[in-house]
Structure formats: C-alpha cells, structure tokens
Symmetry: C2
Subunit: 743 residues, 2 copies
C-alpha cells in the first residue's frame, strides 16, 4: 500500500490530532502487532443471532448456514459473539476467490460494462486489482443464488432470518492512512475517489465524488453571495439569476461527471448485471424462449402494487404538511397577535414541540415507507433502494421546505387577511376569560420572518444534523463499550468474557469483529439525501439570504471527512456493491433546480424591491406573478438545453479515452482483416482476365463491350469529342451526320 | 422474389389500374424482355456533364474519374447521355462487392451496431441479404475516401465538380410489384417496411414507417373529432384534452417504435459509423494518441460558424413574419373596414399575391439556409442534413402557423383596439380623395375567421401540396420526354439519337438510365417535414375545427402510396444510406406537442364558451390566461412523464428479442466457462487437504483452528448450547463458571 507513505508526513494540525485519535480508535495500540499482517480482502463475517429461537432450531439453522457455505467451498471459523450471537468468520480459498473475481470480470465484459475481454479460460485465477474487487466477489459468493454459483445467504430473510448481518471487516491500516490523507488534501481528485473506491466500492465512492464536486461548485455562490450581500439589495435579482444558472450548470456537469467516473471505474450500465433480490416474490418459475429461467410475477400485479405508493406518499406528505401548517399557524398567532404573559416562552413551545416530535414522526413515516416499498416487490435491490429513496425524498421535501414555502407564499402575501380570522378562532377556543389577556394587535406580516426561518433551517439545521449524525452515535457507542468493559473488568456473570475465553492471540481480532458486529450497517442513501436536501435550499430559496452558501461550504468540507470517519468507526464496513452513479438523486437534483426556477422567481417577484416592480409599472396585481413564473421557467428550460448542449460538446475525458480505446481496438481488427485481403485487390493480370471471362459468360453483353483495359477511357474520350462537336455544329446551325455507331 | 406472387392477384380496383399504368411507366412493354434478367444490386450510374468545361479539361476529369474507379477494382462502361453528358455505368465484380458487404458487416459489429460477429476472415465474400445492402456497399465503394477503401468520388465537389449525380438504377420489376402490393394492403406492417428497406434502404423506409404509424394513430382524433363536431360545443375542452393526450402518446410511441425498427434493421446508433463529408473543411490532419487520423478543425471556429445560423434564422423568420403580418393586416383592413367598390376582388389580392410569392420567397430563404449550413462546416452528412432540416422547419413553422397564431392571439383579442388605428393610417396613406369611398364601419372581429383560416391552410393546403409535389413534376417530366421523343422521331439534328446510335440490345436499358439521369434526387427530409408540419396543425390548433384529422387521414393514406410511386418514377433511386430514425424530426414533433399544450389551452381559454369561463367566475381578465397556460403546460409535462414511463415498461418487441439474444449468447459463454471449471469446485478430499495445508502454513493460526471437516459445526453447536445455558442461568440469577475455554 502506497498509503503508508503518507503516515510519515509529520505536519501536525488539528486534523492530524483528530485523525490520530481515530486511528487509535480503529486499532488500539495493544493489538497493533497482532493485526498487522492480516488481510481483509478475502474475509467476511456472518453474525448469527439465536436469542429468538430455541436451541434445536438454532442448531438446525446454524447447520444449514454452514452447509450453504461449504457448498461453494468457503471455509468457516466459528466464535462466540456478544448477546447470544455466533460470529462465523468466512474465508474464501485463493483459487475460489480468484476464479470468482475472474468470472465477474468476464461477466462485466459479456454485459458490455467493460469493452475488453479479460482473457483466460474457465480455470483462470486472477488477483483483484484492489481490495473492494475481492470483497465484491466474496459478497457475491455469499449472497448470489445457487444457480449463479453463490451460497444464497439472505440475511434476515427466509431460513436465514436470524442472520443479523453479514459484513466485511474494516481494514484499520488502510482506512486510517486514507483518513489522514483525506484530512490533508484540500480538494479531492479522481485519484482520491479511486482510493475510496478501492476500499468501500464504487457506490460509496460516488457519494464522496458527488460531495466533492458540490463543494467545488459551492465556491461560486459563496463568493457571489458575499458580494450580493454587501452590494446588492435584499432579494437581489442578479444574484438569483446567477444562482439559478449555477444550479443548472452544476446538475448538468454532475450528470457528465457521473458518466465519466462510471467509465473510469468500469461500472457503466452495471444495473443490467444485478440479480433478483431474495425477497422478490414470484408466482412461478418459467423458462422463456431464450432458455432463461425467470421468476415470473404478473406485470399487472406489479403495477397494482406500485400504485399503492401514490396514496401513501400523498397521505404522508399531506398529514405531515397539515401538522406543519397547524404548528406554524399557532406560532404565528402567538408571536404576532398574543401579547399576554409568558409570551417569550409560549412563542417557542409549538416549534419546540414540533422539533422534538418531527424526528419520531419522520422515522415512523419512513418505516411505513419501507414497508410499502417492500410490498411493491421490486426485482432488484437497486430498484428497491431507489423506490425507497424517492419516498424519503418526498417526506424530507415536505418537512424541510414546507415551512419556508408557507412563510413565503402564504403568510406574507395573505397573512393580513387570514391572521385576524385565526385570532377570532383563538378567542372562541380560549373563552372570554383567557381572551382578556390578549390585545388585538393590528396585524402586519413580519418581513424578516422568511429570512430568520431560512437561517434557522439551514445553518442551525446543519450544525444540529452534524451532532445527531456524527457525535451522538459516537457517544452512544463509547458509553456502550465503556459499560461492557466495566462489566468485563468486574468479571460479572453473564458477560461473554465470563463464559467463553478467547485465545490470547485472537483477542484483538475478535474484539474488533465483535464491536463491528454491533454497529449499524452503512446506508449511503442517507448521506446523499442530506446533500441533495441541502442543495435544495440553495436552488429553491437562494435570494432570501445570500450568505447561505458560505455556511454550506464550511459544513461540507468538514462533512466530507467526518463522513469517511463515520463509515470507519460508527458503521459496519459496507459491502462494496457497484452502482453507476448516485441513482435517483440525479433526478431529484434536476427536479429541485426546475422547481427553483419557479420558486426563486416568485420570491424575488413578491419580496424584491427592484427592477421587476418597475417592469410591471401599471398594476402590481397578482396576475403579474404567473407571468414572472412562466418567463422564469422557460428561461430556465432554454438555459438548461444550452448548458446540456455545450457540456456535451466539451465532453468528458473518460468518454474520449473510451472512444480512443475502442477506436484502437477496431482499427487493429480492421487492419488485420485488410492485411490478408490486400493481394486480392492487387488486380493482377490473371485476376482481371478471370473477371473478364466471368463477365463474358454472364449472358448480358452490355458489360463486356469495354472490358478490355483502357477501352472505357478510349470510348469516353471519343464520346466527349463527338458530342462536343455536335453541340458546336448545332450552335453553328449546321446539321451533322451520324458520327458514331455502335460497334 | 416472393413479391411475384402478388402479381397474380387479379382483383382490379382503381389502384390496380393506376399501378398498372405506373408499372408500364417503369418498364415500357417493348423493353420488358430486355430488362427481365438484369440485376440491379451491383450497378451504379455516374452522370458526368462536360458542357461547362472545354474539351481537354473534360477528358482530363473523365480520365481521373476512371482511374479512381479502377483503383478500387470497379468495372466501367461508358455511354453517351443527354445534353453533353457521359453516363458511366459502374459494376463491381462479385469478389469485391461481396467482400465490401462482408467488411461492412464486420464494421457494424465492431461499432456495436449489431451484436454478433459475422464470422469469416479477410477474404470472405458474402451475399447481401437484400438489394439495398449490396447497393450500400456499392455506394461506399464509390464515395468513401481512399483510406477506407473507396474511390472517393464526391459529386459536385472538388475535382468531381462536374459529376452531376451518382445513382443506382431503379429496379422496375421489384418496385412495380411492391407498388401493386402496397396499393392492396390497407395497413402496412413491419414486414412491408422491410420490403421498402430492401429496396431503398432504412432511411427511406423510416419515412414510410413513420407515416404509417401516424396514419394508424390518426384514427383516434378522426373519430373523437367527428363526435366532438356532432355533440360538443365549438372549441371543446374535452376534445382538446383528448387530442393533447393523443399527441403525447403518439410522439412517445414513435420514439419507441423508431428504436424497435432500428434494432430490427440493425442500424441502431449507426451515426457513429459515418465518415467525414468530402466538403468538410479542415485546417490540418493530425494523428491523435489513439493513432487515429483526424481532420482537425478548431472547435472554437466550429462553434463560431454554427453561431451564424442564429442571426440568419432570426432574420429569416422575422422578415417572413413581418411580410405575413403586413399582408394579413391589409387583408383584414380591406375585408372588415373597406366598403367601397370592387371589395370582392380587392379583398383577395393581398392573399393571392402572398400565395404566389411565398413559394419563391421560401425557396429563396431555403437556398440561403443551404448556404449557411454549408458554411457551418459539419463533419458528417447526417449533421449537415439535420442542421438544414432544423432551419427549414423554422421557416415552415413561420409560414404555416404564423397566420393562424396572428388570427387567434392578435386579431381576435386585440382587433377591436388596433383595427381603427390601421384604418386611420390607411386614410392618411390614401389621401382624403380615396378615403371618401370608405365607410368607417364600426369594427368587430369576425369570429369565424380563425376556423376559415385553419380549414384553408389544412384541407386546401394538402390538396394543393399533392398537386404540386406529385402531379406537377409528373406533367413536367411527361412534357419533357414527349418533346424529346418528338425531336427524335423527327430526327432533328443535335439530338442524341442523331449523333450516337445505341446498340439495339442496349436501347431499353440506356433509355431507362438516361431518363433517370435527368430526374432530381430524392430527399426524404422534404417528405418527413411535410408530415411533421401536418402533425403540427393538429397539435397546435386541434380545437378550432375537429374535422381536420379526417382530412389528414384520407390525404395520408393516399400520400403514403403516391410517395412510393413518386420515388419510383419522378426521382433517381436514392442511395440506400442508413439512419436510425427520422433524425431531428422527433425533436420537432416533441416541440410541437409541447407548444400545443400552451397554444390549444390558450385557444380554448379565449374562444371556448364552457367550463373554463365558469372556473374564473370572478373576472375573466387577462391574468387568467397565464394561469391556464401554466396549468396546461405542467399537466402536459406530467402526462408525458407518465406516458414515457408506461411505454418504457411495456417495452418493444425488438428490444426484448435483442435482450433474449444477448442473454443466450452470454449464457452459452458462461456455461462453457463453467464446464471446465466444475471439477475444481468438486471439493475432492485431496483438494481439501491441500487447502488445509495452505491455511496451516499461512502464519496466522486463527483460520486453522477449525479446518478439520465438521469442526466448525461442532464448535458452533457447543457455543450455542453454552451461551444459551449462560443466558438462562443469568436470567435465573445464578452465576456460572467458565464453561468453555479456548482449545
């Protein structure tokens, strides 16, 4: 590993100290020597939990598991885990893993994912190019169905329902050195994403590549935002247009970058290589015309099941929306109209209650979403994951953006007319006694409310999120492991160490494995989702507070690195599955940009005090708003078309490389073809004669008349002269005889 | 040819008589026996005209031409043509043509257009599957540059500037039988398009497939239109929505059908196989990293040149638009406000003048468009053709739709306010004397004007077009050939027959070739353009007169067949070039559908007397129009997304076939791979032992502890039992000793 070189760098910044601490977290010093020579590319851990079943069932299930592993030739070592678990350490013998990797490459070639055949034959054993390639084949050996040469283990499903998880072990040396390295690099490049890919696979690496691209792009709105804040009026039209353009360029650029990276990593169009999920329900197995075994599930049922998501999404979004509307209404009422005692505290109660309740409600809805998605019965894991991601996006969209939409497009323009109604309702509800304490203050919409809200949701939201996502699990895990240590050191009965004693040599390894078995799996969708939602604030509400991008920029710079650390120490190492991009999130980005063209235009129209107002000098009635929106939206669509065209013309480096490579391949092939053809075109006398004789005997004499060498030329020249002469003669008024006869 | 079978059908309808007449046109009876055994797949005719150069230059150019043909091994026979022309009949020897076809197939495979390698090696000679395949290779042998193994002949360009045209000969037997057959088939299917493809190549066949698909779809608006006309109020909202939906489904369906056919014909993504146009200007020839010879032309210059089209298109559209605006204004003025003498005639003068002038103006602008497109310096012929097609579309769009747009969105809503101004201007211009004769009639917009205009432009337009496109050239050609016959029969001096006497055996063949040399080439873009413009009337103005689709339906049924006849007798046989669809016209269709969602909504909003008016009960002010448009446009976008999703799920037959075929190919490959691997997975005792010993010596003892058969199982079962017991004990409150030690 060339990464070791980076460990020698001695510059000690705050990041170094943090990452040194993390390194220590990854590899406790006392175990360092034990773990030093371990390989991580060919090992997998299966966590089998038998606390929910009786002893006989447990033994039976365990036996089945081992048989499945044995059937594909995997070697298993069994050790005890925490909390009524068995940890089964699986290792693939070199010849099996090497061949699996080889076959995987052949399959990639067959499906057109990579262009060149890897060479070799059925028994070829190859070395993986990087750790994740081996681990991917390990993953396939374990999870793929028998027909495809796998053990068919589906954690949590069917007869493996008590298999809690199945994960590769973290490689603390590589992770640690990469972590230090990432801390030192200001901007990550493709080579850095390659290293992340080598460790965690393309799907995770795509998240980092996306975030880095986003960070780079953020510099533009951060700078223009600062300038707009300093020199432009609030709700600057210029800044809005620039940011809208920026959003478009960013989304279109990323689409290209995604393709670029997917070619670089040889995963373009990898979706076609995915196998059925074990959870996929089918009615029968059919063999189609092409001899392909298919798990058949009627299309109309599939569509009917998918349709279920529409009422769910609507109901969830609406109820969430209604809740938010009510809370906002109460809050507005208290803050604007109520003037009695404890106003300061009362004002914050609804929002605080909402803030506390929202994560639970959201978790609840996401659980239903997961159930609905399960019911939809998707064939591949990708389709399943994407469908879930789409639902989560709608929920997040409602939770995050609705309050701002309400403030901007309901509270401000209509507040004057409906807040008094609300007040009257409140009077009625509270009764006359309580109502005495309320002054009926004449209502005026608070112009700064929109800005306050955006700031609260973006800046404080980001900080809160960082704590919740990164620090909280860290603290929890610390506490849990401290408690375990405490019990162990006090040698209490019932602890694992009290029952089973590890071999001293294995202690470090087992300790790492056990604690990793207790970590949650990593779901990259959550992290991508967070970035996309953040982008949404910019796309939808950029003119409200132009300093937002600066906050995002700082946050994301940290986030990128802390996310890497998070994967290393707070999650099980993810299976290095492949994907050719960030999936449905590209569509979501495009959707947010589109919606932004409407929303920012409307905000500037309603709140801006500049050009637009003068354009509609006659009447600033409501009818001008739809016109603004139509103009802005179509300007956006036209801009997008232009940006797409330009970017496609500029193209990407990898696409060019690919086309160069395929040109070379074709050229070589055609040259070889040409080489042993050239003598044929030599047109030797012999061949000409042969051809002539063929023409002669062809029955039709037309083609034989000028078959002798030079005859066509001779006849042609003669014809030119004759026809010329005739023309001149006819111009000269003279008739001419027949100059040329057939021969 | 199985087509001969169709000739036996004796049913005599009017079409039969027509097509029999056409057949006679194609093969005059007296030559029938001579042409009977001719093959058309391996012949090409080059028409060299030397009237513009002196005799020496002509001979030199002609010699060069023959040398080029000779260099690739083609055989040439020279005969005289009409009007100072030489006809060079080119025939490819079997081994050269067969090998060219083979190499073309290999190239298709290399470029991924077809999936299977054709087999064979450098000297393989194959038979073409159909006539057009041979002719395509003939075309490539003639036109491709030397590096690609062609003769590099570029008619009308460089040293071949006097080569007037280069065309394959019409195959009268096949064309005739196909023509009869098409007349008898009510609806053409894929197999029929195949036959057209076999004769004229995929590009032309795509036009027929598109038209047939369009005809089939037209049944829906024709029926709903009839119902709407009978039972719905004018400007029916329901009919408008149905037609909008229909447009969307049609366009999306055609996109799929296009892919389907392109797979069927093995031309999917054929664009990547195209070579540079000979007219392409480059600054230097560079050899890039991949060893590819490239004609380098700086990108910025390319972009700069392309930008020229923007001012041209704007200027052309604007001036054309201004002209139409003026004419319409004058017409309105005369018809509505003028009430003096000769009103009946005066009223029609401006429109009549415009109708006469428009074809010339349009031709003039199209010529400029061709020049501009030439200047744009496109690399491939496709790009060039498409760029021109786009410009022509804009011009046609302006000419065809602008008058209706003006009537609908200017004359009607604003007529009341601006027509009086116009009148005043007229008074001023004419002076007081003339103005006396004019009554100032109070102006009211004529509500039927819109409908009259749509009917005039669609129905009469279609009939006029048919005459202009089909009958006029026919009459012209008849007259021309009659005149020639007349001169010949009177044996006047200066006629070809007066100078050169044909061999009697050749007379039929040469007569056909000479008359074909004088025909114009066929440009499929013109025909497609006509269909798309017709579709535009439906998409943009459907609510105005719901009977329009019936007219279109009848017109197109005839058009489809008359276009085939037109290609056969009024044009040179087109080179069977390949394309994977109807090119840029798909985008134009999509654009028209989109614009239609705005335009039809606005028409119904402004003219409809139904639901919409009631929705906006408060004020039917102008502000409601943008709202209607926004709603309609987004409803359209949502509908389109749904239709796209549904159609993609339904998929196409060819796409399924292709995926089946590639599955079979992959399966076979993987099975072969598996076959000689299976013994490896046999897990014989021997191999297990070997593996064990490898594990033993690996240094790390962890993986050796349970390496014996069954040991993992034993240990695991033991662990389950021990941990279970410990759990029960701990629940029972009893401490337990250490039950299990490491071994």
């Amino acid at each position: 590993m060339s990464a070791d070189g980076f460990l020698k760098v001695k510059r000690q910044g705050s990041w170094d100290i943090l990452s040194a601490a993390a390194q220590k977290e990854l590899v406790p010093a006392q175990f360092d020597s034990q773990l030093q020579y371990l390989t991580y590319n060919d090992k997998y851990v299966i966590d089998y939990k038998f606390s929910d079943v009786d002893c006989d069932t447990a033994i039976e299930e365990f036996t089945t598991l081992l048989e499945h592993l044995d059937a594909v030739g995997l070697h298993a070592e069994v050790r005890a885990g925490y909390d009524q678990c068995l940890l089964i350490f699986v290792k693939a013998p070199r010849e099996i893993l090497g061949n699996a990797v080889y076959k995987s490459r052949v399959r990639d070639w067959l499906y057109g994912t990579v262009a060149e055949h890897p060479g070799g034959g059925g028994q070829t054993i190859v070395d993986a190019k990087y750790e994740a390639e081996d681990l991917l084949s390990m993953y396939h050996l374990l999870t793929w169905p028998k027909e495809l040469g796998g053990a068919g283990i589906a954690p949590g499903y069917g007869r493996f329902k008590n298999v809690q998880s199945m994960f590769p072990l973290h490689n603390p040396r590589t992770s640690g050195s990469l972590l230090r390295y990432l801390g030192k690099r200001v901007i990550l490049g493709d080579a850095d994403f390659d290293r992340i890919r080598d460790l965690f696979g393309p799907k995770t690496a795509f998240y980092f590549a996306f975030t880095q691209t986003y960070i780079l792009f953020l510099f533009f709105p951060a700078i223009t935002g600062l300038l707009a804040w300093a020199f432009q009026p609030q709700y600057s039209l210029l800044y809005t247009i620039l940011t809208g353009l920026w959003c478009t360029v960013f989304v279109e650029y990323w689409k290209l970058k995604e393709i670029d990276l997917s070619i670089r990593w040889g995963v373009k169009g990898i979706g076609s290589l995915k196998t059925d999920r074990p959870q996929f329900i089918y009615e029968k197995v059919i063999v189609d015309d092409a001899g392909r075994t298919k798990h058949y599930y009627p299309r109309w049922k599939q569509i009917a099941r998918r349709l279920v998501q529409i009422p769910f999404v609507l109901a969830a979004a609406l109820s969430l929306g209604a809740l938010i509307v009510v809370v906002v209404a109460i809050e507005v009422l208290i803050s604007e109209a109520y003037d009695g005692p404890h106003k300061r505290y009362l004002e914050y109660i609804p929002t605080a209650l909402l803030a506390i309740a929202l994560p639970y409600i959201s978790q609840f809805l996401e659980n239903i979403a997961a159930t609905v998605t399960e019911f939809e019965n998707h064939r591949t894991a990708d389709a399943h994951e994407w469908s879930l991601a789409r639902k989560v996006f709608v929920l997040n969209f409602t939770m995050q953006y609705l309050p701002i939409f309400l403030t901007a497009f309901v509270y401000h323009p209509f507040g004057d007319s409906f807040v008094p109604h609300l007040e009257r309702v409140l009077h009625y509800v509270l009764g006359d006694a309580a109502a005495k304490s309320m002054d009926v203050v004449p209502f005026h919409a608070d112009l700064d409310r929109l800005q306050r809200e955006v700031i609260a949701l973006t800046v404080t939201g980001q900080i809160w999120h960082f704590g919740e996502e990164f620090l909280l699990p860290l603290v929890k895990e610390k506490l849990r492991s401290w408690y375990r240590d405490y019990r162990t050191s006090h040698a209490e009965a019932g602890t694992l160490e009290g029952i089973v004693q590890d071999h001293p040599e294995e202690r470090a390894f087992l300790s790492a494995a056990r604690s990793q078995a207790n970590l949650p799996p990593y779901d990259v969708q959550v992290d991508i989702s967070q970035m996309v939602i953040q982008f949404g604030y910019l796309a939808l509400f950029s003119p409200v507070w132009p300093l937002v991008p600066i906050g995002f920029l700082i946050n994301n710079w940290i986030e990128l690195r802390s996310d890497f650390l998070k994967i290393c120490i707070e999650h099980q190492r993810p299976a290095p599955v492949r994907a050719d991009g960030i999936g449905p999130w590209v569509q979501n980005l495009a959707f947010l940009t589109w919606l932004g063209s409407v929303s920012t235009a409307a905000i500037v129209h309603l709140f801006g005090r500049s050009v637009l107002k003068e354009v509609y000098s006659k009447g600033s009635g409501w009818w001008t708003l739809p016109v603004t929106i139509v103009v802005s939206e179509h300007a956006f669509l036209a801009t997008r078309a232009i940006v797409q065209y330009v970017l496609r013309r500029i193209g990407s480096e990898q696409i060019r490389k690919e086309s160069d490579a395929s040109y070379t391949r074709r050229k070589k092939y055609l040259d070889e073809l040409e080489a042993n053809k050239s003598e044929m075109l030599g047109l030797g006398v012999e061949q000409r004669e042969r051809r002539k004789s063929v023409l002669m005997t062809a029955g039709n004499k037309f083609w034989t008349r000028q078959v002798e060498d030079g005859k066509s030329l001779e006849v042609g020249v003669q014809l030119i002269q004759v026809l010329r002469k005739a023309e001149r003669d006819s111009e000269g008024g003279k008739g001419s005889g027949k100059d040329m006869k057939h021969e």
